[in-house]
């Protein structure tokens, strides 16, 4: 069982934690990587040796206290070691998103004044070299994978192994090297900057969030205690290293509780690797859970009728009683028995093929997850939870405690986190994890973090009766109907988008009399439906105009209304009228951002006639729009778009009562 971490508090930096881990868990696995066909594994003692050697090597190259060292690449042990090696020297690691284009990368490297970069492979080296003219601060680049780099000019380029070997030699040749390293580790304190993480943000240039050891180590400790993570746990590191979540889960928490981090072989083999490792602690954004569920359903479509029937029957059993059993609520004996059979025939095998058999704690965050999807996983007996976090908070703001899991909240304040909601509805928090500041951006720091340590999240939300926080929207997007009713477009849109048939939704209502919506159907889902029901259609546009499709979506919208009616704060913002757009919202047409977020302003302008029609009572509206084809040509399509009225629930009664 879990060995109690005896020396809590004494180790306030990661290099110190590494020493501790090597001492008490020296022979236990610290990190694995699927490489050359097997899970190459390093123990904590080995990891410490690797890191010290590399740190000494870096020191030999000139890395000194206060330097910034950029880290670019996918999740690999050597890059994780680099974080600690850099920290050992009192320098600051700056992980970057490896899929960023060269220009974006250059901005961050310049802004962070990185003198060194440790990168994964030729691809990253090429990116940096292509812009080396603009990178006057960058001195040395160290690479992990030497493939294709043999013939490069090596005056400023070094293989990781060579740097490490030089360090090893230096450590052997001269005891002073080791002593200096020890001294540097010992001198570091909790208030030093541990890491700098650049957040992209929705607007403007990326900002460098400076997190101290006090932020990260304490957050790691609190969260490990919250979920009772121990050195027996196992995690798969597959999300970008530059993202705060990965930094906390795959680095900070691992160093704190001593659990083992596994790095996949490549992105192609990720699912296979997940299956092999079978992590006990797992994080994935809702998108991944969604795709996973979709593939499960698609793959089951190919199964024989009996098996498919059995599968869906037991999924029904799970929906009925799975979550209750997980939450320890009373369930009839018959259902318990059925659930037991279901476990044998469906749930456990399914978890096994998904690689989630051993998952003890799982989190999803970042976006709202569809309640159906969330419940699906929960009902299989998976302890999937939601959390709400930010880079500026060292992740944790709220989290769902075991046994208090709800699909539509993000949980209670995490340990030692204070939360308040200001008058405009914006969520603010104060915690040990609150960041030190934005690097070289005092102004932004001041506008985000108050004098007394409260951080503005930029999100609007409220606490429900059970003390759970619900995030409804970006604070700046929250508006009001003319009668003052709260209008949170994204909250409504998300509810709409949870229906597989709805791909995109735009809710309109700020400063209007009531709420309306423009919807995009999901071509795959609706097309599938059409095929199954022998409905023929020639084009996307034709599909959107079908009566049955309109009826189907009207039913979805009505359901959302019913849902909204049950929540007092947003009950007033039910959708009265909607239309189905005749074309897909597209980033190429400027309607979405490249990260697939809706650009409200642009859309409002472009579809002005439609919006007018939504509010003037007409039942049809002609529109002509410009589109960009895949090959870049532009064209125009026109359509008569129908406008549909939807059932609302208790809305008029409310209004009458209000008047």
């Amino acid at each position: 069982m879990a060995q109690s971490v005896s020396s809590t508090g004494a180790e306030d930096t990661f290099p110190k934690l590494l020493d501790r881990n090597a001492r008490i868990w020296g022979e236990r696995p610290a990190i694995r990587e699927k490489d050359l066909g097997i899970w190459q594994t390093w123990t904590w003692a080995e990891v410490r040796e690797e890191i010290r050697a590399f740190a000494a090597g870096l020191s030999g190259l000139g890395v000194a206290k206060g330097d910034k060292v950029a880290i670019i690449g996918s999740n690999r042990p050597r890059l994780y070691w680099t974080i600690c090696a850099v920290q050992s020297l009192g320098a600051v690691p700056v992980p970057l998103y490896q899929d960023a284009v060269a220009a974006e990368m250059v901005y961050v490297l310049q802004h962070a004044e990185a003198r060194f970069a440790v990168v994964e492979d030729q691809e990253q080296v090429d990116k940096i070299l292509s812009l080396s003219d603009e990178l006057d601060v960058l001195e040395h680049v160290i690479y992990d994978e030497d493939r294709g780099l043999k013939d490069y000019d090596h005056t400023r380029l070094h293989p990781f192994a060579e740097v490490q070997e030089n360090g090893r030699k230096a450590l052997q040749a001269d005891a002073a090297t080791g002593a200096a390293l020890d001294k540097s580790i010992a001198e570091a304190t909790g208030s030093d900057i541990a890491v700098m993480l650049y957040t992209s943000g929705t607007t403007g240039r990326p900002k460098g969030v400076m997190l101290s050891y006090d932020n990260t180590v304490v957050s790691a400790r609190l969260s490990c205690e919250f979920d009772k993570l121990t050195e027996d746990d196992e995690i798969l590191a597959y999300l970008p290293m530059a993202w705060v979540g990965d930094h906390m889960f795959s680095y900070a928490q691992s160093y704190w509780s001593g659990f083992c981090v596994a790095c996949p072989e490549s992105s192609d083999t990720m699912m296979q690797d997940l299956r092999e490792i079978g992590p006990t602690y797992y994080f994935a954004p809702p998108r991944i859970f969604e795709t996973l569920l979709t593939t499960v359903m698609i793959r089951m479509e190919d199964a024989g009728a009996i098996k498919r029937g059995m599968f869906h029957y037991f999924l029904g059993v799970a929906r009925r009683s799975g979550e209750k059993i997980l939450n320890g609520e009373p369930v009839s004996f018959g259902d318990r028995l059925l659930y037991g059979i279901g476990r044998l025939l469906v749930y456990e095998p399914l978890k096994n093929v998904l690689g989630l058999s051993r998952m003890r704690v799982g989190y999803t965050a970042g976006e709202a997850i569809g309640p159906e999807i969330f419940r699906f996983y929960r009902s299989l007996g998976l302890n999937l939870k939601q959390l709400y976090g930010q880079t500026e908070a060292s992740v944790f703001v709220t989290a769902q405690p075991d046994g208090e899991i709800r699909a539509d909240t993000v949980g209670k304040p995490a340990p030692e986190v204070e939360i308040r909601i200001d008058d405009s509805g914006e969520v603010l928090y104060r915690s040990p994890g609150v960041f030190v500041g934005y690097y070289k951006n005092e102004e932004a720091t001041r506008s985000t973090k108050t004098e007394d340590g409260w951080v503005l999240t930029g999100d609007a939300g409220f606490f429900d009766e059970e003390g759970h926080l619900r995030i409804i929207d970006r604070a700046k997007d929250v508006g009001h109907l003319k009668d003052g009713t709260l209008f949170a477009p994204k909250y409504i849109e998300n509810k709409l988008k949870f229906f597989p048939n709805i791909k995109e939704a735009v809710a309109i209502g700020d400063d209007r009399d009531f709420v309306t919506a423009m919807l995009n159907i999901d071509l795959v889902a609706v097309g599938n439906w059409a095929e199954r029901n022998n409905v023929s259609y020639g084009s996307y546009q034709e599909l959107t105009g079908l009566d049955q499709v309109c009826e189907m979506l009207a039913a979805h919208v009505a359901e959302v209304n019913k849902d909204l009616a049950g929540e007092p704060r947003v009950a007033g913002s039910q959708i009265r009228r909607f239309l189905i757009l005749h074309k897909e919202l597209d980033a190429d047409d400027g309607e979405l951002t490249r990260t697939q977020k809706v650009r409200r302003g642009f859309i409002a302008e472009k579809y002005e006639p439609l919006i007018t029609a939504l509010y003037d009572g007409s039942s049809q509206q002609h529109i002509e729009t410009e589109v960009t084809f895949e090959d870049g040509r532009k064209g125009a399509i026109s359509a008569d778009v129908r406008i549909v009225d939807v059932e609302t629930f208790g809305l008029d009664a409310r209004r009458e009562a209000a008047e």
Binding site: L36, I38, R147, E265, D268
Partner: protein, 265 residues
């Protein structure tokens, strides 16, 4: 792609074929052909169908025995030999029609390429323990490096029969590389591939040549590929050599143009 003057002229001769004539019961497949392959180069053999290209490879790795002419490898004159002797001297090859061991997985196929590197005797094999197990593991590691090199991790344990054609060709290359050859003979490595697969394969061939330093002789139909890839090109037609030289020279050669346009002789 690569500057020809860098390689041309440089490097000692690895294999020399001197005035070879090969015939099958009166039909002459190769007539008085001489060619040399220099250490470290990529040497292309091109020509229309039935020009004797594959026969030439078969002669080089000892599968056919020419009636006339000399072959010398690494400076030593070679007498009549068995194909497996050529293999043990460091000549590996791939085949025009994929010749994988269809009953085995990708991994086993590449392990098969290590046959000559494994020596533990029957009785060690019986117990599969100690030195035999160690040898197996050492060679597995080597094979894994090749798998990594050719980026076929995802199909490691897939029976090769189930793989798409392009991947089969890559596995075959992997198997040849597992032999750690000095001379690698590739018989139409890109036949039947789509553009993307061809690009991948070209990159791998260049990587093999540059990173592992392996000398390569290849037969290819796609002239643009040959021109990009190879250091020197020899052109055969009806069993005779009609041109030999740098890609650019060969491309401009009137005989070659005629042979490819099908002008009768």
């Amino acid at each position: 792609m690569r500057a020809p003057e860098q390689e041309a002229g440089a490097g000692e001769t690895l294999l020399a074929v001197d005035n070879i004539t090969l015939s099958f019961g009166g039909v002459r497949a190769i007539r008085n052909v001489s060619l040399d392959i220099r250490k470290g180069e990529i040497r292309a053999i091109i020509g229309p169908n039935g020009a004797g290209k594959t026969s030439m490879l078969n002669v080089i790795n000892g599968f056919y025995h020419p009636q006339e002419g000399l072959i010398s490898f690494r400076g030593a004159e070679r007498r009549r030999m068995k194909p497996y002797e050529a293999a043990s001297q460091g000549i590996a090859r791939t085949f025009q029609n994929v010749a994988l061991f269809r009953g085995m997985t990708t991994l086993d196929n590449i392990m098969a390429g290590r046959t000559l590197k494994m020596h533990r005797n029957f009785f060690w094999q019986l117990v599969h323990w100690g030195p035999a197990a160690r040898e197996e593991v050492e060679n597995r590691r080597k094979v894994e490096e090749i798998i990594d090199f050719l980026e076929i991790q995802a199909i490691r344990k897939t029976p090769v029969g189930r793989l798409p054609y392009g991947l089969q060709k890559r596995v075959e290359l992997a198997r040849a590389l597992a032999m750690e050859p000095d001379l690698l003979l590739l018989d139409e490595p890109m036949a039947g591939m789509n553009l993307e697969e061809k690009e991948d394969m070209s990159r791998f061939i260049l990587d093999v040549n540059q990173q592992l330093g392996t000398t390569i002789a290849l037969i290819e139909h796609d002239i643009s590929v040959v021109m990009d890839l190879s250091d020197r090109v020899v052109v055969l037609d009806h069993g005779e050599k009609i041109a030999d030289g740098l890609p650019a020279e060969v491309q401009a050669n009137q005989n070659v143009i005629e042979a490819y346009l099908g002008v009768s002789h």
